[in-house]
């Protein structure tokens, strides 16, 4: 599955969204929160918040 990404490179927060075609004219957009957990190993947690949108037509 190929993600089409949009990045809001903000001053205080950066938000990444991924759009992808599902089926029947539907486009799904995932919001990925960028967050590093505090174990000082640089690992990253990804929170997923799914929104389903419909493609026109």
């Amino acid at each position: 599955m190929k993600p089409y990404i949009g990045i809001d490179l903000g001053t205080t927060n950066t938000v990444v969204a991924c759009a992808d075609y599902i089926e029947d004219g539907n486009v799904k957009i995932d919001i990925l929160d960028i967050e590093q957990i505090s174990d000082r190993c640089g690992s990253i947690t990804v929170k997923k918040n799914v929104a389903v949108l419909h493609l026109c037509g």
Binding site: I5, T11, C18, I34, E35, Q36, G42
Partner: protein, 481 residues
Amino acid sequence: MGHEFIGQLAKNMKNVEYDRVIYNSKNYIGNRNHVWQIDNKKYTPEDVAEKILSVAKANVERFYGERVDGAVITVPASFNHDQIESTKNAAKSAGFLEDRLIFISEPTAALLDLIYEEKLSDKRNTIHDFSKPKKVLVFDLGGGTCDVSIMNVEINGDDYKVEELAISPHTQLGGVDFDICGVLYLLHKYSILNDIDHKRMPHHVDVKRYIFSVLSLEIEKARIMFSSLSSGLTGEGYGDVVYRNSLENFYTGQSFEFEISKKEYDECIKPLLTKGGNLGFNIIDPIIDTLNKANLGKEDIDEVFLVGGMTAYSTVREAIENFFGKKTISYLDPMYSVAKGAALYNYYNENKKKIEKGKIIIYPVVAENIYLDVKNNLPVLLVSQGTKAPYEKVHEGIVKVDNATGIKLDILSGKSIYDPKMKRLKSVQLTFTDIIKPGTPISIKVTFDKNRILHLEAWVTGNFKQRIDVTFDKEVLYDGC
């Protein structure tokens, strides 16, 4: 040498290791002279953007298990070509491919998200009808910038056309200014409580930064609480919501127990919301400026759309609604709509050949008037603000050679050729491979690409083959935002 952390953890560290945290770096992008130094390592704003974009890219690749080399990245509408180019360089360094990068303005992205949602809502009762062309003013108040754009939105069947009409270059105002107002008020409270002159309180720059970091986080928490608890309240109860906290070891070992009500906070930020407020900048001036640029009155605006975290605060929203005398659109999550609109545009743009119905066309505009400083004469207008990109124009014989080996010219921006506040954006060096006789006219081709990045080509007038090497000076005198 410590580890580098990006994101919320870094933000939280402002309270602990405030002198080792870089924040608001976006406000300085495009300014190569701005550098932070931590542990003898230097970081430019472009470096910081690269690191954030690298983390973003890695997140997506890990999540989807796919390599990602393209993106639509949003920038403030008022970003000039230097700032966009610097963001593009950061994205390239983060591993994105240049030809798969597109930059669109934040208000445009948010608007795409809105009209897409609205189009879908025909199944769930449309609130704002975009089936006829509409003029939409997008007010975007983020952490460090305040962008106002006016766009013409047209939906023809399944095709969207978003045409930028005018954008505001006001970038000196952002959420951080709302924090500063609250911080100064809390400091004032502390000084009264402890009988100290707060203006003389912190002597050391580190102490100042610490106090500002701690109190600005408190103000942010208070504002979030005011937003959540005051919704639905009206009348007296509306301003009576109170935020209380106690800070241990706040200053010289003393703790600081304080409270601030919504009413008090709103009074603090009033100058930022009122035209003629005593701070010299406010949210109304950029709106008026953008309306003037578009030759429109506030009554010509069909819809006012609010974007950016600060517009979620009711008092900000009310100030804008009072100015326009109408309700604004702000029901989408302002934190996510920009990224969602950008992702949507990326999808449509990448698949435009495959998609028969449903196209998104964006007509971006140049944010400011750009001039070339022609020696011994008035500056020449290269591109006027509001010009649609992509754009190109050849200026025949625009300058004359005064030095046989090369010429250095300045690129300026301002409201008019007589603008006393005209800014020098950058210098451009024209280097001649062969000696050219002084007095020979030089032609320059000006191009703004689809990402609103400026390119220049030069040649000897009348001899297109005699190309002249054009390089932008590394030294940038432009003071960012």
